[in-house]
Symmetry: C2
Subunit: 350 residues, 2 copies
């Protein structure tokens, strides 16, 4: 075949936006087979699972791109570094594992100074310290456009303690940690204040009464505390996922992977007062925000009813519903008692 | 501290270009300590080394950015996918390990169609098949600028068979696989033909007599064949690195890490005829290209003299010099017998 320029321009063209991120992942996954005996679980969960003798090694990768995942006008570089590590640690938490090593791939345009890179690494180091993770490698390169961060994290778990997305059984209790929707409302506040700042650079951002939600957006924490507590209580969640795209999207993942139906109760969904008030201020329905706002990085998991006694008084684990037999019936029971089908409106970046 | 916009803009500003990639990595490395017992080796070699029972797990990450590492006008997407995997596999080869799993982080702007992504994955899959690597995960996202590829690879090696950069001893034999400078000359040909194409889009690129060097640029191979052969011969290189930035840059890494001097002989440096002729056509000195051209992904390693008998007739391993005591004296003996200090002119992307 003669070499021609631009030979990758195919004759037909289908838009990725039509297929969506999950459609694209399914297409990729479809053609992939596993050859190595050490590859226990591949694409499709929060992390890959790799045989490592007595333990399993967990591996997860995220890329964070300027202009898509963060805006440096309101995301301080230390916080960005911290968050980049935290969201990856959260993927290991979601497997019921413990993070141990991390690599950082960094693409930098020439508007970044050495000092800026040091601020970024200050945040990365703070997160590594907090989560007891070692920065063991990476790649640093120029970027012709914005800041590019690619993080891979290695975690570890005993094989029998790993929680997959596909392990939920009928009549399991659905649990969620912390509270939901805060990170999304924090983003709305920051976007609003940025507009004010652009119109008048002398204006101070007005974040009064919004510290909580802004903090949820700028400095999320991976819930490793919960993972350690579950281990202490000798509970292995029957299924688990972290909430990065929104509760609705994540429960549907669990439903599909585990082949069970999901029934949630609106009055059980945890929403912080500050999130609630901020949503109303923005004329948004707090429950819609809690169901669909992403980036909270809380854990969603299911437990066997027999484990309920052990956690029923936990101050930061909320019991929001239960699984049932019909995997096509994923519903939210509203406070008024009406049945609302759960639909993923999660964060679409394509 | 009150929140302000753009608070990451530090008061002082030092340019990354002044510090250079390796200076920046040293700065990052300086502040990093390892906490987990499983983190055997962190930043500073081709891959991190992690304890995994009987074996060690090797972990390496690369990011490839459009406009910095590749130009899609002459890099077909299948080849890009193949190369992205191969260069990561090469990092595992450079540790004397075997690659097993890979994750792909992908940032796509809306000019990429589903068909384009499929072409990219065609190349990724072909490389996975060739190197017996499993694609086990990744992340797919929109990108506001060009194509972003972040690859992490996991490999495996017996602890006592790992080759580090710092293991070369005095009077070891310096070996290099394949031939050097081809990938660089291939890039020069492609850049020249792209200019012709821009001036006249109807012109067919003239790659006649340059297939070899263009192939070296567009479809490099990781030298896993050599790794398997060394294992069969029961040779563990005393030190090893892959040639991504150019021979001169890599021998200086080995010299510094191992604290030995390097002595190379110009007449032993392997240069393919096609690379030689193309260099002359571009009025470039072939030996300068072989010493400094990057992206060949051949292996540079040192062996104990006692192992020489086992490999001396290998058709694709070249014995280009030896180590000596004085680590500050890194020299090339020219064909005329003159002594030339080795200086890294490797690929600077900052």
């Amino acid at each position: 075949m003669p070499f021609t320029f631009l030979q990758h321009m195919a004759d037909t063209r289908s838009e990725i936006a039509q297929l969506g991120e999950f459609g694209l992942i399914n297409k990729i996954k479809h053609n992939v087979s596993l050859r190595n005996a050490s590859s226990l679980v591949g694409i499709g969960d929060d992390a890959a699972v790799i045989d490592a003798g007595n333990d399993c090694v967990l591996l997860s990768t995220d890329i964070l791109l300027e202009g898509i995942h963060f805006d440096l006008s309101y995301m301080p570089l230390q916080h960005l570094g911290y968050k980049a590590v935290a969201v990856n640690v959260s993927d290991i938490a979601a497997m019921n594992g413990t993070p141990e090593q991390i690599t950082i791939g960094l693409g930098l345009s020439n508007r970044f100074s050495v000092e800026a890179v040091e601020l970024l690494y200050e945040g990365i180091r703070a997160a590594c310290e907090n989560y007891n993770v070692d920065l063991v490698g990476g790649d640093t390169t120029a970027s012709s456009s914005g800041l590019v961060l690619a993080i891979s994290v290695i975690g570890r778990a005993k094989r029998e303690r790993i929680s997959y997305r596909n392990g939920a059984k009928v009549n399991d209790i659905i649990c969620v940690t912390g509270d939901l929707g805060g990170a999304y409302m924090g983003l709305q506040v920051l976007v609003r204040e940025k507009k004010v700042f652009i119109d008048n650079p002398a204006a101070q951002p007005d974040l009064e009464n919004h510290e909580y939600v802004v903090g949820r957006q700028l400095k999320p924490e991976a819930r490793m505390d919960i993972i350690h507590e579950l281990a202490d209580l000798n509970i292995v969640p029957t299924s688990m996922i972290d909430i990065s795209d929104g509760l609705a999207s994540e429960v549907l993942h669990l439903s599909k992977a585990s082949n069970v139906g999901i029934k949630l109760f609106e009055d059980k969904i945890p929403i912080d007062n500050n999130t609630f008030d901020t949503a109303l201020e923005f004329k948004l329905d707090p429950i819609v925000i809690a169901m669909n706002g992403g980036e909270d990085y809380e854990l969603l998991f299911t437990i066997n009813q027999l484990d309920f006694e052990k956690v029923k008084n936990h101050p930061d684990i909320h019991f929001i519903g239960h699984t049932h037999e019909n995997s096509t019936q994923n519903i939210l029971i509203s406070k008024a008692g009406t049945i609302v089908p759960i639909q993923a409106q999660g964060w679409k970046h394509f």
